[in-house]
Structure formats: C-alpha cells, structure tokens
Amino acid sequence: MVYIFCALYPEAAPWISAFRLKKVPEQTKFQTFTDGKEVCLVITGIGKVAAATAVGSICTANGVDKSDVLVNIGICAKLSEGTEPKEQGKAPGEERGSIYLCNKLLDEAAGKTFFPDVLVKHPFPEGSLLTGDHIYLKSDGKKDIVAELYDMEAAGIYQAGAYFFGPEQMVFLKVVSDFGVEAGEPESGNSKGEESHAKESGKEKPQHDLHKEKITALLEQHKKEIITFLKNLKEAMEEDVPEKKEAAAEKEYMEKLYIDLCCSETMRHSLKQLYQYAKKAGLPFEEKIGKLYEQGKLPCMVRREGTKRIEELKEWTLE
C-alpha cells in the first residue's frame, strides 16, 4: 500500500483523481480516500501534531508491512529566496512551483533532525526541510541557515511514521508555494498560510477558492513525474518481499506442521528456521515431511516425539 499524507484537500486533489480514490465513509477523524488495494490517502489537517496523529491512527488501523511506503506530499515555503536556486535555470525568486524531495527533516521545536533514506532513483532536486509550529514569517529570519524549505507537518509525519516504516520507506515531496509572509500580512502569498488561517479561524472550508485551485495547480504540474516515481518506489520496496499469497500459503503450511509436531514456541522457531534453510539450500523439505506422514511419524502425539522429529530433520539437512 502507498500511504499518501497531505495536510489539505487541495494538496490531495491531484492524487485523488489520478488514482481514482474513493472516500472511506467510516473514517470520521481524518478524511481518507482509497482505491481499496494500492493507495490510501489521508488528509491530516495542518500542523505536526495533527499530521502525526493521522499517521499513527491510519497505520495502526490498516497495518504496515515492508513493501508499504509512506509519502508526504504538500506545499512549503522556500526559506532562501535570495540565495542560489537549487533548480537549474531558475532565477532566485522564480522557484514558486519547484518541487523538492527532502533528504533531511528538522523539527524546529524539538531540535531534532531526521534523515529519510533516498535509495530509489527520482527526478527531483533534493533539499532540507524545517518543520515549524507556525506559518513562516519572513521576519523570523535566518532559518535558511538550517534548511532550504519550511513546512508544518513533515517532521511530525516522519516521527510517527518511524514507528511503522523504515527510513527507506518514507518519502517527503514538497512544492514551493511562497517565500514566507510579512508579519501582519498573512494573505500576502503564503498559500498554506491562508488555508491555515481559514482552518485556525474555525472555518470548515477555506474561503479563497482561487487559492485552493492555485495549490492544486502547483502540485498538478508535477503529477506525471510523481506518479512514475511512486510506482518505481513501490516496485523497489516489493523486491525480495514474498508475494502475499505465497506468504499466506507458507504460513498455513507451517501452522499445520507446528500443530502436528506439538511445537512449543522454541520448537516453532527451530522448525521455521529449518524450513527456511532447506528452502534456500535447495533441499526437498516438503517431500521429506510428506514421507514422515506416510511413515506414520507425523502427526506426533506428544511434544517429546515432536522434538525428536525436529532433531531428525536437522540431521537430514546435513546428509
């Protein structure tokens, strides 16, 4: 499953349409959309705490395995408007709409830094991102010393996600929407600021439809490359992970064997290990077990008999 977390609906809209996601009506705390098999998108609301809560809640409910990925997509502010732009061919200040893959996340309040692994190829410039607890004001100053980008969720999403995902399973994609706002002028360009203010002021829906569209448009322009990247990322994470059907059949086979050998927890562990060894060493484990059934040595009546069979199997692996 690809879990996509966006703070706002306008950030989520391109993915809801691209992956043809349907709303999950049972999810009442966080708006959730899914195609029922490969993608699950959650709108977290603004801020680190809301975002972390959404990640914890959805991942606990759905479960996460090694082939799953967590993706945080959204808009951000660029902290260093006057500095050398990361994306080639763009003048300083012209980076509105530029996309970044974040390789370093800083939690401003906690003073902690996190590093998602960047193992899979991607077409995006990379950058560092500072997650703060309020809208970035230009007058805050000097934040560009520690990072290039600023948002209000990513570090929270990483910290909550780390309970479920490895660092190579988490990806943070941010599109520059503004360069911070002037103090006292929250509407002067920080798109998320306006959305944030709309939310914070208790209004359920953002007031400026035009700005909603702008946010969606900023992300929409990167839709094709993001979708291709997510497909590659998912494919990479599925390498070496047994297919679910294969794993389920194997589990069922072993569960029967555990019962038929009257296994304790330690015996289960030994038997599973023997099975995995035999499989990898090219030994016909299932054929051997079949013979034991034919010979009446399986199923065992008591645990002592099961222990003896496991010892016999160990000897067999070295024959």
């Binding site: 830094t113 193992l119 190829k121 990379e126 780390a162 990479a236 060894y277």
Partner: protein, 339 residues
C-alpha cells in the same frame, strides 16, 4: 518473489553525509571531488544517520550511502577472542572504515551494525598517534581491515597507502590488511613493505557465487595474489570462514586445486583455516535482516554465546582442509582457529 530491477536504485554513494565539523577537512574535500554529482548532506554526528531505527541492510546495500566523520573515543582496540592472532602477543585492531562494499551473506558486520551505509573516518592521523604510543611499550600486531574491506575502497580513500607509508618506518609494527579485492590497477600504487601482510580470503567459486555477492572470483583473487607474490608482497591466505555446502569436500578440493595450480605456496607468508562461527547476538540480527539466506538459517550449535556448525561437521571440514594443505605447505605455517 519479484525479480530484481537494479535500474530502480540509486548508484552507490549517490548520497554522502558529512559531519559539519569536518566539512572543511582537506581529506573530505579530496574524497568528495572523487564522487562528482553526489548529493552532499550535512549532519551533526555520524550516528544520526548510522544508528537510525528500522534500517534495511538489504535495501541499503543496493544503494549504499557514504558517511564521512571524525572518530572519537578509543581508536585502537584489543583483538577480539573470535579472531585469529597468528601467535602475536600484542594483538590489536582499528577501524578507519565501518561496513563494506562487498555483500557477503555470512559477514558479521550485518549483525554488528544497524545499517549497510559506510562510514569513513578522516582522522587517521589520530590513530597513528595512538599506535605510536603503543609502540613505545611493545611490538604491535594491528589488523586494520576487519570492519570493512579497506582495499576495496582504496580508490576513494587511499588509506591503505597511508598505513603502508606509516608502517614502513616502524620496525616493531606489523599490519594485517584483510581483503577480497583483486583490482590490479589498485595494487599498482602500493609497495611491498615488510611490515604489511595482505591477507586474502579465499573461498570455493560455488561459495563466492552463492554467498559473497559483488566480490572477485577465485580465479581473479588467485591471479592477483600471484602477481603480488611476484612483486614481493607478504601474502597470507585465509580459508576462513569455511562455509558448509552440500558435498563440501569436492567443492573445497576444487578450490584447493586452483590454489595449488596458481600460487607458489612456499612463498606464502602463512595460512589460516577456520569454519564459520559468529556471536549469537550478531546471528540474531542477521536472521532478522536477511531471513532468506541459507547462511543465516543454518541450524548452528550455540556454545557459550558463539554459534558454529555442529562439532563433528566443524572438525571434519577443518580437518579436510588442513590435511590437504599440509601436503603443500609446512604445518607450522598453518593456523587453525581454536576457541
């Protein structure tokens, strides 16, 4: 299982993490210049990246990152009890590099470290000072390539050359460099020095193909060893760890035949033999990290925290190899690992 598509993964060292305090270090700049196009990410301390929770060794090994750092605390350690000391009384080891570009399924590094990323420490000169301090007290036998294959990274770091230059001026120092590296070009810039022993790990071709991913073949290794012996390098052959495979006598005999055919054994410094053994704690991590491996899942015996093959098998394997080696090399040159 899905088939592997290597094209999905970033190339090795596409990402380099550099501790801020050494960002201006000349060696860091030199190494970064050898890796153009890499994404350089500043970090506070190498453990911020190295020691993260839930890292995947298998996935990271497909796209290893490089971490450049300064080593702190103790720099030279006493030799570990599971390591062969070759009769040296003052046996030490040091780690300028943590982790390896080779991917050997049996390697204890997979059980020891939480990551496949490679750390290179820039302050080798502090290690040299520590060695000089020890040399004031007694002779020193120092292994510098336990926690990595230093030679496999020599094109980037040049650290073996630095150790060679350091050691060649110190009579009481002997340095062992363990390796599987067989790059002829790389060896060109090294000179034979009496103080340096290059210890080559040798395995049967079947074991190399199955378990020593990304390493040179047996033929490449023996050809390289032959060239080094001809140039006057001191070479040690390590048949350690011996890995159990079905029909191991035939498999190991083929390897020995290649060795006898390719190498003038009378010119080999010495030979070590030992079957695979590993701390139970490392094995536990390796089983978790790579459950789909015949090495990690073998039903080993646990004896005082060290897992090894069943005693009879272990003795048979080692006996087989030493018996045959003794036909070609003096017994006093053969070191068998004993607990």
């Amino acid at each position: 299982m899905k088939s592997l598509r290597n094209g999905l993964w970033n190339r090795r060292f596409s990402h380099i993490y550099v501790e801020e305090k050494i960002a201006e270090h000349a060696l860091v700049k030199e190494w970064l210049s050898r890796l153009p196009g890499a994404e350089v990410i500043k970090i506070g301390h190498y453990k911020d990246v190295f020691s993260r929770a839930k890292q995947s060794y298998l996935r990271q090994h497909r796209s290893q990152s490089l971490i450049l750092a300064a080593k702190e605390g103790r720099l030279v350690y006493d030799g570990a009890p599971v390591c062969q000391d070759f009769g040296n009384k003052h046996f030490y080891y040091t780690s300028c590099v943590m982790n390896c570009i080779y991917d050997c399924e049996y390697c204890y590094l997979k059980g020891m470290y939480p990551t496949a990323n490679i750390v290179v420490f820039v302050n080798y000169e502090n290690i040299f000072s520590e060695i000089d301090r020890l040399l004031e007290e007694h002779e020193v036998y120092l292994c510098i390539s336990y926690d990595s294959d230093l030679l496999a990274l020599e094109h980037l770091t040049g650290l073996v050359k630095r150790f060679e230059e350091f050691a060649s001026k110190r009579e009481k120092l002997t340095i062992e460099v363990r390796t599987k590296c067989a790059s002829a070009a790389l060896w060109e810039h090294l000179e034979p020095a009496f103080q340096m022993i290059y210890a080559f790990s040798l395995s049967p071709e079947e074991v190399i193909r199955e378990f020593e991913h990304g390493t040179p073949s047996l033929k490449e290794r023996t050809a390289c060893i032959r060239a080094l012996i001809d140039r006057g390098f001191r070479v040690r052959l390590c048949f350690d760890p011996m890995i159990y495979v079905k029909d191991y006598p035939a498999v190991y005999q083929r390897m020995l035949n290649t060795v006898y055919e390719m190498l003038p054994l009378e010119k080999v410094f010495d030979v070590s033999v030992g079957s695979f053994r590993i701390s139970k704690d490392y094995l536990k991590h390796m089983r978790r990290g790579n459950p789909d491996s015949a090495i990690t899942q073998f039903p080993y015996e646990n004896e005082n925290g060290v897992c090894h093959y069943p005693k009879r098998l272990m003795a048979d394997m080692e006996q087989f190899l030493t018996d045959d080696l003794q036909k070609h090399i003096e017994p006093e040159k053969i070191f068998l690992w004993k607990d």
